[in-house]
């Protein structure tokens, strides 16, 4: 869907690129079975909202089988597709599943932002012997990014479980994943003009989360703002805050951490309502100023 696999069918044919009847539970189950039998399937959900129709296969079968079989059955599957808010697609097409899937032991969960992230994380996910959920973003599909020579090389991978510092700074740490990383960089550019230098951390992986990179940054800047598209309760930001409190970086915080999240409502359709439910650059700037008390 959304032309992500365009050209692949022409190149690799029916045996490797398969259109299925409409049953998410069905095709997710088929993919899990194929993985157990030795293939490396990539199972695409048109959006992760529809993964809810297959969630038993993802969690009870893919995620838990390696543990339940004491390691004798591997499920090297990748579930991928667009996640989170898009534009004008309302409640049943806009939910972010980072927190739900990030909650489950047995799964790895990645969330790319840039082209380099998308390419490197997909390749790493396919090569990983564990089930991986790759949360892409529909609005990012059309955004071009610079790619280094190295990133364009054939075997380039981005290791799962390592965050990336997209912008160095000294006054506040902004931690984010997926599309909001871009908003954080925009906010950082605006704030730089006022003399506030933000360090922007792109998580890249939700589970296992690279909290060490976040801690090292907080130790340096003493302030933390988390930014995510998902709902606030039990979210990615909540997890980051909990872990910071449990670790060495807590003693370096000069103010409570602030979470910037999507509004705690099902996503409405009308544009003016939708715009107010998604974290904007101005919301990030506001949160930074609040935590820095300026």
């Amino acid at each position: 869907a959304l032309q992500i696999s365009r050209g692949l069918w022409k190149k690799y044919g029916d045996k490797r690129v398969i259109d299925t009847p409409i049953s998410e539970m069905g095709f997710a189950g088929i993919a899990v079975g194929a993985a157990m039998a030795g293939l490396r399937p990539v199972c695409e959900f048109m959006t992760f909202n529809f993964s809810m129709q297959a969630i038993d296969q993802v969690i009870n079968s893919a995620a838990k089988t390696c543990y339940m079989s004491a390691g004798s059955i591997a499920v090297p599957i990748v579930f991928r597709g667009p996640n989170g808010a898009s534009a004008g697609v309302a409640a049943q097409h806009s939910q972010c599943f980072a927190a739900w899937y990030g909650h489950c032991p047995g799964l790895k969960v990645v969330s790319p932002w840039s082209s380099e992230d998308s390419k490197g994380l997909l390749k790493a996910s396919i090569r990983d012997d564990n089930p991986v959920v790759m949360l892409e973003n529909e609005l990012l599909y059309g955004v071009p990014f610079e790619m280094s020579e190295q990133a364009q090389s054939k075997d380039f991978i981005v290791p799962i479980g390592k965050a990336k510092i997209e912008r160095e700074g000294t006054h506040v740490t902004l931690v984010s994943h997926s599309r909001p990383v871009g908003h954080c960089l925009e906010a950082a550019a605006v704030l730089a003009k006022e003399g506030v230098e933000c360090e922007v951390v792109n998580l890249r992986t939700i589970r296992p989360m690279d909290i060490e990179t976040v801690e090292a940054s907080v130790v340096k800047t003493n302030h933390l703002v988390t930014v995510e598209g998902g709902w606030p309760q039990f979210g990615v930001g909540a997890e980051i805050c909990a872990r910071i409190m449990e670790g060495p970086a807590f003693n370096y915080l000069d103010a409570p951490a602030v979470r910037v999240t999507g509004a705690d409502v099902p996503m409405p359709y009308a544009k003016i309502l939708e715009d107010n439910c998604i974290p904007q650059v101005k919301d990030i700037i506001f949160a930074v100023k609040k935590t820095l008390n300026i």
Binding site: T20, P21, I22, S23, E24, M25, M52, A91, Y269
Partner: protein
């Protein structure tokens, strides 16, 4: 000691619960496609001539006009709203092209209070029941006049007064819900039926199988209306299913079935 003839011998039929089959002493597989398709009922031929006079429903002139007017209005609204979507004024639209007849025909056969569960391509049913044009438009534009307060994507209409359950995007989820509603109606002795519309693609969903099974086992007053237009998003029926169609599946499920050409 007791004699063999003291023990009653069970009849020579398979004894597992619910079985009505006989024994066979030859191993033969039932071949697919041996059963030919369910016949397709029609009153008129393609030139509009009534084939058997006793099948002519003798509709009064005003009923026929209402059907025709609704179909034309629906088609006109579709063209305008589809254009709107292409121009970026609304983010999404689904047309009803070619299915206008099935909407108004089925709607006309229902009582006004029968409960309708649709998928997303049944606007003609709501239009036949008198839902005003400006409310269709308001819903698609998500403006202040929208009874759903701008919360739903376009074509996700709903109207409590006209017994049309609000459209929900995930496919086939309405099927078990429609069965549950029919069961609730049966339990309350309501003199109403439920009709559940879905496409041939949605019939692949697990919810469809579960819904059909429950309707049969709970014996619910429900009509399942499958709209087969040859495509599910972009997957053709040749890749969606094998066999003659959705009605042919699971003939033992205890349904009465008919194919219709609209």
């Amino acid at each position: 000691p007791p004699l063999p003839q003291d023990f009653p011998v069970p009849e020579e039929k398979p004894q597992f619960p619910g079985a009505s089959a006989e024994f066979a002493d030859r191993l033969e597989f039932i071949q697919p496609n041996v059963i030919s398709g369910i016949p397709v009922y029609r009153v008129m031929d393609r030139q509009g001539h009534v084939l058997s006079p006793d099948q002519d429903p003798q509709l009064p002139q005003e009923a026929v006009l209402k059907l025709y007017r609704t179909m034309t209005l629906l088609n006109t609204m579709d063209r305008i709203l589809y254009e709107s979507q292409r121009q970026g004024r609304i983010s999404f639209y689904m047309t009803n092209y070619g299915e206008e007849g099935t909407h108004v025909g089925s709607a006309a056969a229902l009582d006004a209070s029968d409960l309708v569960f649709g998928q997303y391509r049944e606007a003609g049913v709501l239009m036949y029941r008198g839902y005003p044009l400006d409310l269709f438009m308001a819903q698609c534009y998500g403006n202040a006049s929208d009874t759903a307060k701008g919360r739903q994507m376009p074509v996700h209409y709903g109207c409590r007064e006209r017994h049309f359950v609000t459209i929900s995007s995930p496919l086939a989820t309405q099927i078990p819900q429609a069965v549950g509603a029919a069961y609730a109606i049966k339990r309350s002795d309501g003199n109403r039926a439920v009709i559940c519309y879905f496409g041939e693609g949605a019939a692949s969903e697990g919810d469809a199988h579960a819904g059909f099974n429950f309707a049969a086992t709970l014996e619910c007053p429900i009509v399942f209306f499958c709209r087969n237009n040859g495509y599910a998003i972009s997957t053709p029926t040749s890749e969606q299913y094998r066999g003659d169609g959705i009605g042919e599946r699971n003939p033992e499920k205890g349904f009465q079935k008919r194919g219709l050409e609209g």
